[in-house]
């Protein structure tokens, strides 16, 4: 069964109960004197002295910060009420392209909450955090195998952080080769995600855009024309943000490698190819993996995630510190037949003098590592390959469904090639023929209790809809989505105004974003 709403209303004449319930902030629930937490007495022998005898009053606040004053039941009601004003993956299909909104297994939450993980202090002596270090090392090895690259750092906190790491590694690599001064450019295709060019600038490089060919891949002539001794790196997503695997991938990486650049693989779309193809085998030097995409870490309303990087031998010396080392002690030659004693250590800059240094505090988003490692253990090698197969099957099935009927007519595929785990449609015909925009289709989908696809990205597709169903959707839910889009288009043939004014049933209707940009109100006025 699909979770779709069968017949959503086409007007907002009767507001829903949620719509009648005006948004109230926690501060507006605050009543002086109410509280939730009880703080213990200090218990200091001899009793408490006034605080300003311990800290001079010029260093102290005059007035307490105006935090809410609320009881525990009020906090729970408030945030429960807020939660109901969110749509979420557990409520229905969430085919947000490039984001891999796959099911979040609850066993992962359970094992992440074990006190040995959740209450382990990051400054604990590594000798007394061996379970954590072994887990991280094992996850590194798994990602190394999946990516086809020998070395891994788990440190980056998200994909964009991995990109920045990759560019700093690139800089360190060129510095060691003596040509960092002349290699100032980074090539990115015009289909690249926004974080790619933003990371390039943060790393002190200049963005050079490479065109896309009619196949949806990198335009080889343009790439050749722009590749010279000034190129530091090429950043590529493959399959790219059109969901297309580049047919010339070996040639592309060859051209840049020949010219002395490094090769960066944006792994946001790894969910298409796990166990089928590996970035290392394609010729890449550096790969980031979004654990919150392919490896099931819940998206949390915008994080947390993690963006580990896997790298080639030539990049390895520069990896961020601290690094994890597995040390076998005791029977070094195994001559006495005993199992060697294994321990894990954290190694810093003393042991890795060429390292770019640290990218963040402590060892990384360990709680995310626990969840993703549990996911890899659950699926195993075969399971990961199967997950990718099903992701590709689901996307192609949904595309087949959306190539029929009105969707086929009004929302043609942007590049007519077999996609992998996601595909991009263009709403240009719907705009021309029905006078509704991609945005209107997206907003009307909300009334069907479905999350819209990613819209208006990639930029080179007019009125883009980028659809990634993932492997964890059922066929019914894919059918339900295709049916809903069909219904929206049929409705628009009759009356396009319905989509243009949508949504009608959500907690709030279309919001004045332009007003919020002109006159930003970004905190509550507490008087």
């Amino acid at each position: 069964m699909s979770d779709a709403v069968v017949d959503p209303p086409a007007t907002a004449e009767v507001p829903t109960p949620m719509q009648r319930d005006r948004a109230t902030t926690i501060y507006e629930r605050s009543v002086p004197g109410r509280r939730a937490a009880a703080i213990p007495a200090s218990g200091v022998p001899g009793g408490d002295v006034p605080i300003d005898e311990l800290i001079p009053s010029r260093l102290l606040r005059d007035e307490p910060a105006r935090l809410p004053e609320v009881s525990e039941p009020e906090i729970v009601r408030h945030y429960n009420r807020l939660s109901r004003r969110n749509f979420d993956l557990d409520s229905g299909i969430y085919p947000l392209g490039s984001c891999t909104m796959k099911h979040n297994p609850r066993i992962n939450e359970r094992v992440a909450a074990l006190p040995g993980h959740a209450r382990l202090h990051p400054a604990q002596d590594p000798a007394r955090a061996q379970g954590a270090l072994e887990l991280m090392w094992s996850l590194e090895r798994s990602l190394s195998e999946i990516c086809g690259l020998p070395h891994v750092s788990l440190q980056p906190s998200a994909g964009s952080h991995g990109e920045l790491a990759g560019l700093l590694l690139t800089r360190a690599f060129h510095e060691a080769n003596g040509d960092a001064g002349t290699r100032t450019r980074v090539l990115t295709p015009d289909t690249a995600h926004g974080t790619n060019p933003a990371s390039v600038t943060m790393a002190g490089y200049e963005v050079v855009k490479v065109a896309t060919n009619e196949d949806g891949g990198v335009d080889l002539d343009d790439l050749r024309a722009k590749t010279d001794e000034r190129v530091a790196c090429l950043m590529l997503t493959n399959p790219n943000t059109l969901g297309l695997f580049d047919r010339n991938i070996a040639e592309i990486t060859g051209i840049v490698r020949e010219a002395g650049g490094t090769l960066y693989y944006d792994g946001a779309n790894l969910n298409a190819i796990m166990g089928h193809s590996r970035p290392g085998d394609m010729g890449f030097d550096i790969v980031h993996v979004n654990l919150h995409k392919s490896f099931s870490q819940p998206h949390g309303g915008g994080g947390p995630g993690a963006g580990p990087i896997a790298v080639s031998e030539r990049i390895e010396p520069y990896l961020p510190v601290p690094r994890i080392e597995r040390v076998e002690a005791g029977s070094a030659n195994g001559s006495n037949g005993d199992a060697p004693h294994v321990r894990f250590e954290l190694r810093g800059a003393e042991d890795h003098p060429a390292s770019i240094g640290r990218l963040r505090g402590f060892q990384g988003n360990f709680g995310v590592f626990v969840r993703s490692y549990a996911y890899i253990l659950s699926l195993g090698g075969d399971g990961l390959a199967e997950a990718s197969e099903t992701a590709v099957l689901n996307a192609n099935y949904l595309l087949a469904r959306m190539s029929e009927g009105r969707a086929g007519r009004y929302l043609p595929i942007a590049f007519d090639r077999r996609p992998m785990h996601e595909f991009v449609l263009s709403g240009s015909e719907a705009k021309k023929q029905l006078d509704i925009k991609t945005l209107d289709i997206a907003k009307r989908l909300l009334d069907h209790n479905m999350h819209p696809p990613t819209v208006y990205f990639p930029l080179l597709v007019d009125e883009a809809l980028m659809i990634e169903p993932t492997e964890t959707e059922t066929r019914e839910s894919l059918d339900g989505f295709a049916d809903a889009v069909e219904a929206i288009l049929a409705e628009a043939e009759q009356d396009p105004e319905i989509a243009r004014q949508a949504p009608y049933t959500t907690p709030v209707r279309r919001l004045d974003e332009a007003g919020a940009a002109r006159n930003p109100v970004v905190r509550q006025d507490l008087g």
Binding site: I75, R119, S142, G194, P197, G367, L379
Partner: protein, 458 residues
């Protein structure tokens, strides 16, 4: 081993027929040369119960703050996180959506961001707050990036009182920005103001301090702000959000950007993450802020609502001209922080801060009385302080660990031979007394072991 998929064999056949191919392989339009022609070399999948067992065994090999008495800090602290934080952040509606790009169905997350921003501006005394970045040290580096954009200068002056991990992170990022980083030492626990004045020049984009600083002392922000502002530089303070409950707000003392590690606000230790970084600034920086920001607005029917505001700063709109590259941040952790602040409430945060001050001063006096222990400085402290002693730190820590106590974080060489000791409301007076006892024994043992060794070598 389910892979969390649903497709049956029959369905697969029907779906392939609908697509018009006969096998899944045909769907992989991947050149032969880059196909993996073998299985991944990973173990077979496990049942859920087997996964649990394996992970439980790994977890059991960690000494966590539940199984020993934890005086570790240096940025993350063993505070009690109330049950409502877990209960609320594990609700599907908060746990499983992504970034609120569709505001009509994301009002819960957006409003929580707005509430969070309000709370952080209250704590820091600055009018702007982002909805959160990754964690503490990378947020310090993000502040540096803003300062370069705001001042068009490329030199940072950093106090030696800033957490070494934050300094390292800033240095890593600065290789790219690019920017130069100069460090000013501490004098008697505080940033050396004379050395600072000497180091800050007309090329300086920002001065970085920590509040309280890495060794626990409370910097005089106003005096430091005067030095920075005289040279046209911004003052960036990395702050402990719990301490901000009682300390003068950085915004009131001249700080331009207040950032910090959010873990102390109701987030798990999690061996270092995920937590969140907070980022607050003066109004002048509104178009340069990094990260998501929620703003209040109305819908077409005039209802109050929230959206992502000021998106023209961000990578998905501005690409190479974005003010930062961040996309996925740590929204759920920031929500946890907001729930925690609501739980503590206006009075609770002050009471917690005062409790920490009292117990920390008690702990410091108690440890100072231990034979062989000296204080690194005797400035006022809030929740953390540094001790030095003349014995190998590793041995002393091992002794304490064998008595079930994680006594502190070893000090970096630049500060001296000793420990950074952190107190939370979970550390009782009895535990502090026990620490003193065990630490004293540990130091005595380590010294006599050292003396014996010297005898042998002599």
């Amino acid at each position: 081993m389910s892979g969390y998929t649903s497709v049956t064999g029959d369905e697969r056949r029907e779906m392939l027929a609908a697509i018009g191919v006969s096998s899944v392989e045909e769907l992989f339009d991947v050149p032969a040369g880059v196909r993996l022609d073998r299985d991944l070399d990973l173990p077979d999948g496990l049942t859920e119960a087997e996964v649990y067992e394996r992970m439980r065994d790994l977890a059991a090999r960690n000494a966590d703050a539940e199984s020993e008495i934890c005086f570790l800090g240096a940025g993350m602290y063993d505070h009690y996180a109330p049950a409502i934080v877990d209960a609320i952040v594990s609700r599907s509606e908060f746990l499983t959506p992504y970034t609120p790009y569709q505001p009509e169905i994301s009002q819960g997350g957006l409003q929580a961001m707005f509430e969070f921003q309000t709370a952080m501006t209250e704590l820091t005394g600055l009018p702007l707050s982002s909805a959160g970045l990754y964690e503490g040290p990378s947020t310090v580096a993000a502040a540096g990036y803003l300062a370069i954009g705001a001042t068009k200068r490329r030199r940072f002056v950093v106090s030696g009182g800033v957490n070494p991990e934050s300094r390292d992170t800033l240095a890593t990022y600065s290789a790219g920005y690019p920017a130069q980083v100069a460090t000013v030492p501490l004098a008697d626990g505080l940033t050396d103001l004379d050395a600072l004045a000497e180091a800050v020049d007309s090329e300086t984009a920002a001065v970085f301090v920590q509040y309280p600083n890495f060794v626990g002392a409370i910097e005089d922000l106003e005096a430091i702000a005067a030095v920075a502002h005289d040279a046209g530089a911004l003052l960036i303070a990395a702050c402990d959000p719990i301490a901000l409950g009682i300390l003068r707000a950085p915004g009131d003392a001249g700080v331009d950007i207040a950032v910090g590690e959010g873990q102390p606000l109701g987030n798990r230790l999690d061996y270092g993450g995920p937590s969140f970084g907070f980022f607050c600034a003066t109004e002048a920086q509104i178009r340069r802020m990094p990260g998501r920001i929620a703003g209040e607005t109305t819908d077409v029917d005039g209802r109050r609502g929230f959206v992502l505001a000021l998106q023209t700063r961000e990578q998905h709109i501005r690409r190479e001209k974005a003010t930062h590259n961040i996309c996925t941040a740590q929204a759920l952790n920031a929500l946890g922080g907001m729930i925690y602040l609501s739980w503590l409430g206006r009075r609770g945060l002050v009471e917690l801060g005062e409790l920490l001050v009292r117990r920390t001063h008690y702990a410091r006096e108690t440890l100072a009385a231990v034979d062989g222990v000296s204080l690194l400085h005797d400035q006022p402290v809030v929740r953390e302080f540094a001790i030095t002693f003349d014995a190998p730190v590793g041995r002393v820590l091992d002794h304490c660990a064998s008595a079930g106590i994680a006594a502190g974080v070893p000090l970096a060489e630049e500060y001296g031979n000793g420990l950074l000791v952190a107190i939370t409301e979970q550390r009782t007076i009895e535990q502090i007394d026990r620490l003193a006892e065990v630490l004293g024994d540990g130091i005595a043992l380590a010294r006599s072991a050292g003396a014996k060794r010297e005898e042998v070598t002599a």
